[in-house]
């Protein structure tokens, strides 16, 4: 059917961004179908370990957000469906998230979700219902470069909302079938567009937290999740040591720490102490002064390349090592299968295993990988 080629499935979370993305496409005359991936039951761990009983709105997959997404689809006059992906989300995102923390790393569930579930599944669901392309409300620009014969992911017009850090895992095939209608807009323009199209949620606040962690306390979540699974919290207590090797205290489990963390160390010290390193094997957590957090190199694995086919030699890039990090000049060097060494010009604070390192060439996303 000819209609199938032009149908676009829009991932609708019930927030202002994805709602506006849908509105823009509808008003551009596209044939749109709204989809919400139901990923997590927000009431599932309610009341356990201090997790709030009633989930707040503004979180993906809360009933309120599904309601909002449905109302937007009704306003726009497009078909809308909720697709249940809870079991896959738990397998591919929540469980790895828990395991990463238990192993002393600091995971980014949004990237896990984008890389392993959201785009894959949306494209699959879209195809199965006769839509060849998907659109999301991410702030990113996606363009085909005929010269390089590659799809290029770029930073958006609104750099404060830039979400390319979470999108580094997109493959060429995924990019070829994905639209980011908000890429050239600023957030105020998006809200204005939402208002102009009569979307009642134009003023809805942005969600900031991890969608399955109400209240944002991951330790609470780990405890509640493991209890629900009938698993004990693994015994990972150990020593707190200074960088000299001197034992300065004991801790209650490596999952309580993130590199760069200052609070909750439980050690009295004349000058502020920070977590420098977490060694899962010895369960030893090294602490030290802020200055000791700085490192010049990191190793990244499971790399995905976007604006280049592969890394064949050294390359000058700006590298970003966490969502709120100001990208810093660095040199990339291939280092074996799917790995690279990143050497910064200036030492960077708190390189954290489990986070992503994403590389930029100007506005273009070169690629990225996971910090080892």
């Amino acid at each position: 059917m000819t209609t199938e080629r032009t149908t676009i499935a829009v991932a609708m979370s019930g927030g202002v961004d994805s709602s506006t993305a849908a509105a823009i496409l509808v008003h551009a005359g596209e044939t749109v179908v709204g989809l919400t991936l139901q990923l997590w039951d927000q009431t599932r761990l309610a009341g356990k370990h201090g997790i709030p009983d009633a989930p707040k709105a503004g979180r993906c997959c809360s009933l309120d957000d599904v309601y909002d997404a449905r109302r937007v689809a009704e306003t726009l006059g497009v078909p809308y469906y909720v697709v249940n992906q809870e079991s896959r989300f738990e397998r591919d995102v929540v469980r790895p998230f828990v395991d990463e923390y238990l192993a002393g790393r600091t995971p980014i569930p949004c990237s896990l979700c984008n890389n392993h579930l959201k785009f894959d599944q949306l494209l699959m669901t879209a195809r199965s219902i006769g839509a060849d392309r998907i659109a999301t409300g991410h702030y990113a620009v996606n363009e085909y470069d005929a010269h390089r014969r590659r799809w290029i992911l770029k930073r958006p017009a609104d750099l404060a909302k830039d979400q390319t850090y979470f999108l580094f895992g997109l493959t060429q095939d995924q990019l070829a079938r994905t639209l980011f209608p908000l890429g050239h807009m600023t957030k105020p323009q998006v809200r204005e567009t939402a208002r102009r199209h009569g979307l009642r949620l134009a003023e809805k606040p942005d969600s900031q937290e991890i969608c399955f962690i109400p209240g944002g306390d991951y330790k609470q979540f780990l405890a509640a999740y493991l209890e629900e699974q009938g698993e004990p919290i693994p015994h990972t207590t150990g020593e707190l040591v200074a960088s000299s090797g001197e034992v300065v205290g004991h801790h209650q489990g490596i999952f309580n720490f993130t590199v760069g963390q200052r609070k909750g160390l439980g050690v009295a010290s004349p000058s502020p102490l920070y977590v420098l390193n977490i060694d899962p094997a010895s369960r030893r957590v090294t602490v030290g002064a802020d200055a000791e957090l700085a490192t010049r190199t990191l190793r990244a694995q499971n790399l995905n390349w976007i604006c280049i086919p592969s890394l064949t030699g050294s390359m000058r890039v700006k590298a970003k090592i966490r969502h709120r990090h100001q990208p810093a000049w660095a040199t990339l060097q291939p280092a074996g299968a799917g790995e690279a060494i990143v050497t910064f010009d200036e030492p960077q604070r708190a390189v954290t295993p489990g986070q992503a390192a994403v590389f930029y060439d100007g506005d273009e996303v070169v690629g990225g990988g996971w910090i080892v």
Binding site: P79, S87, M124, S128
Partner: protein
């Protein structure tokens, strides 16, 4: 785009005669049936006329008909109104959630509840009900026809068992009503719940047969409406609509409409079964005339429902009251299907107004959509859900 609605077990449209029967009671005849004046008397007259029709529908006395808000209220009333702490009740694992959740609540409040499982074909074996009896069994609650598979349950035999055991017997007849000959005396039940919107009546209205002398406590208290069995100002237009819908439904049981519907369903089923890797859930069991529940191997049911919807065929993956939920159909799981098979099953339920052209359209669209889904994912899209 041509649309064919194959989800009659979720709800049905009002018939024009039903709308006409309801119309006066929103405007000119707006009275409160409890009022003394002429306006009130007109409303009262409409309610009692509908009650007469329902008495004929149930085969009971008029005083045994209680109007309520629908099937869920009837199911809740039967259980909450009879079962107390220390009582035992028997129901089945394939009931509608209105019964299941009410039974669980009774259990939370100190009753003992036995959930009897069906045989693989979806039928509840009366022997299993008999085995579940206890001296303190207060209530047996069984559905007349299953909403997902259409399988008819042996309510008469179960009625006998209840009679001999001295237990009360409630039938959730929401899906059976209007589709099979209906007689609460023959069924041997004390309580029987029906809903108007499943038989081309309006939503939000239903009725319950309550055998005289059944010591049921009302769920909703307030005024002395419905012989103190259901408080709240009567939904006069709704009741008038239910009366007309029940009258029309009785007619279809006699004028050959049900046989015609069964033939259409059989043709639809046979046509869909020509697709490889398909099976009917509940085949071999007696079923209502309009329903078939079909399993499509290597297909994720949720995606098929959406794909069919976008091609103009409205079906469901199970009960409409559960769409969007995580779990596969509890009915199909209770019949022994595994998770994948249950999630790969779709319910087609035809309206009494269905035509040959409707079935033709379904048989054009379904094989295409199934083929498309299977081609996309050789190992099955069954990773969803």
């Amino acid at each position: 785009m041509l649309r064919v609605y194959c989800d009659a077990n979720a709800t049905t449209p009002l018939l024009p005669e039903v709308i006409e029967a309801m119309r006066p009671f929103w405007t000119e005849q707006f009275g409160n049936a409890s009022s003394i004046h002429q306006e009130g008397q007109k409303a009262r007259k409409a309610i009692e006329a509908a009650r007469e029709v329902l008495a004929r529908f149930f085969h009971c006395h008029e005083a045994e008909v209680v109007f309520n808000s629908g099937g869920t209220e009837g199911d809740n009333t039967a259980i909450a109104g009879l079962v107390r702490r220390g009582d035992h009740m028997i129901t089945t694992s394939i009931e509608h959630s209105a019964v299941l959740r009410a039974a669980e609540r009774a259990a939370d409040r100190g009753a003992l509840v036995t959930f009897v499982s069906p045989r693989a074909n979806g039928i509840i074996d009366p022997g299993d009900i008999r085995s579940a009896l206890r001296p303190e069994t207060r209530l047996i609650s069984i559905m007349l026809a299953n909403n997902e598979t259409g399988v008819l349950q042996p309510v008469e035999e179960i009625g006998n068992i209840a009679e001999n055991a001295g237990a009360f017997f409630h039938i959730d007849a929401v899906q059976g009503a209007g589709k099979v000959p209906f007689d609460v005396r023959r069924f041997g039940c004390h309580l029987c719940s029906i809903s108007a919107h499943k038989v081309h009546g309006p939503k939000g209205i239903g009725a319950m047969y309550v055998r005289r002398g059944t010591p049921i406590e009302p769920l909703i208290v307030g005024g002395s409406h419905e012989r103190r069995q259901r408080a709240g100002t009567e939904n006069v237009a709704g009741i008038a609509g239910l009366g007309k819908a029940a009258e029309l439904a009785m007619k279809t049981l006699e004028d050959g409409a049900i046989q015609r519907l069964a033939a259409l369903r059989d043709r639809l089923e046979a046509g869909v079964l020509r697709i490889s890797g398909t099976r009917v859930n509940g085949s071999g069991a007696p079923r209502v005339a309009n329903t078939t529940n079909i399993r499509f191997e290597q297909v994720e049911g949720e995606a098929l429902v959406i794909a069919l919807d976008l091609k103009g065929v409205a079906v469901s993956g199970g009960s409409a009251c559960h769409s969007g939920s995580t779990e596969p159909s509890h009915v199909l799981m209770a019949m022994g299907l595994d998770r994948h098979a249950a999630l790969a099953s779709l319910r087609f339920s035809l309206l009494k107004t269905a035509t040959d052209a409707d079935v033709d359209h379904v048989l054009r669209v379904v094989p295409q959509a199934v083929g498309h889904l299977r081609a996309l994912s050789p190992e099955g899209v069954g990773t969803l859900g």
